[in-house]
């Protein structure tokens, strides 16, 4: 790789940028939204508040969709009924993350995983994090179980599940 010194151009220093030596104009906005969750997402979030994971079944393709949707995207029809699925599943894929959103290093690594939920159709499930496990012990297809927040702390959000932990067998 070429050394920095041989590259053409005029370098800009951090101090020049911070002291606004160059012309620019700043504008900041605070964009605020409140999205209507709709029937399917609302049902799912209400279920979480009660410590239950809910899906919707399509009675044509017979898939159980988790997270639930009001419509089946394969059959293009309204889904038919609510189905309670288990709070266990297996790891489809995972990653051990050592950095935060702003690229700073984490004190403790975060294990993010895609979890296929038991009782949902194959490949169906959601993203969450893993806990009570050493990163080196995690593997694809590992069986896991939800660890819930106490009932009075649950607000109807995906974070009502604190994390998934390895299922004791």
């Amino acid at each position: 790789m070429e050394s920095k010194k041989t590259l053409p151009g005029t370098p800009i220093t951090g101090a020049e940028w911070e002291n606004e030596v160059y012309s620019f104009r700043k504008h900041s906005v605070q964009l605020r939204y409140a999205w209507d969750a709709g029937s399917a997402v609302s049902g799912f979030l209400e279920g979480l508040k009660e410590g239950r994971i809910l899906g919707r079944r399509c009675n044509r393709c017979m898939r159980v969709l988790v997270p639930p949707r009001a419509f089946c995207e394969r059959c293009f029809r309204s889904t038919d009924e609510w189905v309670e699925v288990k709070d266990t599943g297996k790891i489809n894929t995972y990653s051990v993350s050592y950095v935060n959103n702003d690229a700073s290093r984490r004190d403790k690594p975060l294990i993010v995983a895609v979890i296929e939920i038991d009782g949902a159709s194959p490949g169906m499930g959601f993203l969450h994090v893993l806990g009570e496990v050493e990163p080196s012990k995690v593997h694809v297809d590992m069986k896991v179980k939800a660890v819930w927040k106490p009932r009075d702390e649950r607000v109807g959000a995906i974070t009502d599940i604190k994390y998934f932990k390895p299922l004791e067998v």
Binding site: R25, H27, V29, Y33, W35, D36, A37, G38, F76
Partner: protein, 380 residues
């Protein structure tokens, strides 16, 4: 080259608030109606899906990722046009015209009720160095309104008459939530926002979704009894600088209509159409647009309003649907909302007085502070 028809329309929402459904559920409802109307199955009969939306109004970046499922377009050819719905319709028209596919779905929606900082989103569109420090959406509009009214020597009552007409037209339209009997005096006594713009001039925000199904002539004739043909399309952008515009006329509407007229072979627009749907924001925009379309002139536009020529039962009904004034402002969906209205009217499902109408024009403006817009010519 094949002709292109609209063979199905659907809608959902059209209300100040739609808390009972997510934007996905609203799109599902509207598209299901459109597919039923066209007699098609989106999973097998559609070659391409086009969705018109803008990330900042959605509050989701790269929002096109979130649209296929609810349109029946999962794992199919889907794209987003970040513009007014009419531009999406024109893209769909071109895809069929070019032989790329024979059935295209075009969707557009608004969930404005979910945008808590609407003013901030609009402000983001202002030119940042020279203009943003001074403008709001309303001042940008008021500056143009003042100059247009000055040039045409219009009193305050003329835009107020347009607002009152469109509010009344909406009463005959079950989809128009802001329709009302509103007198000219009530418009003129509504609070001043920035002179000469009053609150009653400003279209109220609304949620809603519109879907159209486009097809080639061959497909259209097989699928439906009453295809509505797209005879001409046009789109045009004027300068982005608010301070550099000719406020006396809507240059974008003039440019887009000329393009569409040439395609459709329309030589005398003032006599060609049975009704017209134009962007009617703030009342005066309807007049400015009608002039730009060549339907009226700067000499006769004032009289046309005064004697009621553009009323629902006048010789040239303008905005029989009630327009944006009655239907509400649905941002990127505004153009497609009017296409749905025009199609229904051409099929005899609109106002009774317009049964038998054969020729319609739909014109759209992308809203403040833009100077961009499109025109589509429809025919049965």
């Amino acid at each position: 080259m094949t002709k292109v028809a609209i063979i199905g329309v659907g809608y959902s929402g059209y209300a100040p608030l739609t808390p009972h459904m997510s934007f996905k559920e609203m799109m599902f409802e509207a598209s299901k109606r459109a597919y039923t109307d066209a007699g098609i199955n989106p999973r097998t009969d559609v070659g391409s899906f086009i969705c018109c939306e803008e990330d900042l109004w959605e509050g989701i970046s790269i929002t096109d990722e979130y649209v296929p499922d609810q349109l029946g377009g999962a794992q199919r050819a889907v794209c987003t046009v970040s513009d007014d719905g009419l531009v999406g319709l024109i893209n769909g028209y071109m895809q069929i015209k070019s032989g790329l596919t024979d059935v295209v779905v075009v969707e557009s929606h608004s969930k404005l009720s979910n945008v808590l900082s609407q003013g901030d989103v609009t402000r983001m569109s202002f030119e940042p160095y020279y203009e943003r420090p001074f403008l709001t959406a309303e001042t940008a509009v008021a500056l143009e309104m003042r100059r247009y009214m000055f040039e045409r020597e219009l009193d305050d009552d003329i835009p107020a008459m347009v607002v009152a007409k469109n509010k009344k037209n909406g009463l005959g339209n079950p989809r128009a939530p802001y329709s009302a009997i509103l007198s000219m005096d009530e418009v003129l006594s509504s609070p001043m926002v920035c002179e000469p713009l009053r609150k009653a001039h400003i279209p109220e925000p609304a949620d809603g979704c519109s879907v159209t199904v486009l097809a080639s002539e061959e497909k259209a004739r097989i699928l439906v009894d009453q295809p509505v043909w797209i005879r001409g399309v046009g789109w045009f952008s004027d300068t982005p600088w608010v301070s550099q515009r000719d406020f006396s006329k809507a240059v974008y509407a003039e440019g887009s209509s000329k393009m569409a007229y040439k395609m459709a072979g329309v030589n005398t627009p003032a006599k060609h159409f049975d009704f017209i749907e134009v962007d009617d924001s703030y009342g005066y925009k309807e007049l400015q647009h009608l002039e730009a379309l060549g339907v009226y002139t700067k000499e006769n536009i004032k009289r046309a309003v005064e004697v009621g020529e553009t009323d629902l039962r006048g010789p040239l009904p303008v905005n029989p649907s009630g327009g944006k004034i009655s239907l509400g402002d649905m941002v990127e969906a505004n153009g497609l909302v009017r296409v749905v209205e025009a199609v229904l009217t051409l099929r005899g499902q609109g106002p009774r007085s317009l049964r038998g109408a054969k020729h319609a024009l739909v014109q759209s403006w992308r809203g403040p502070p833009t100077a961009s817009g499109s025109t589509v010519i429809l025919e049965v």
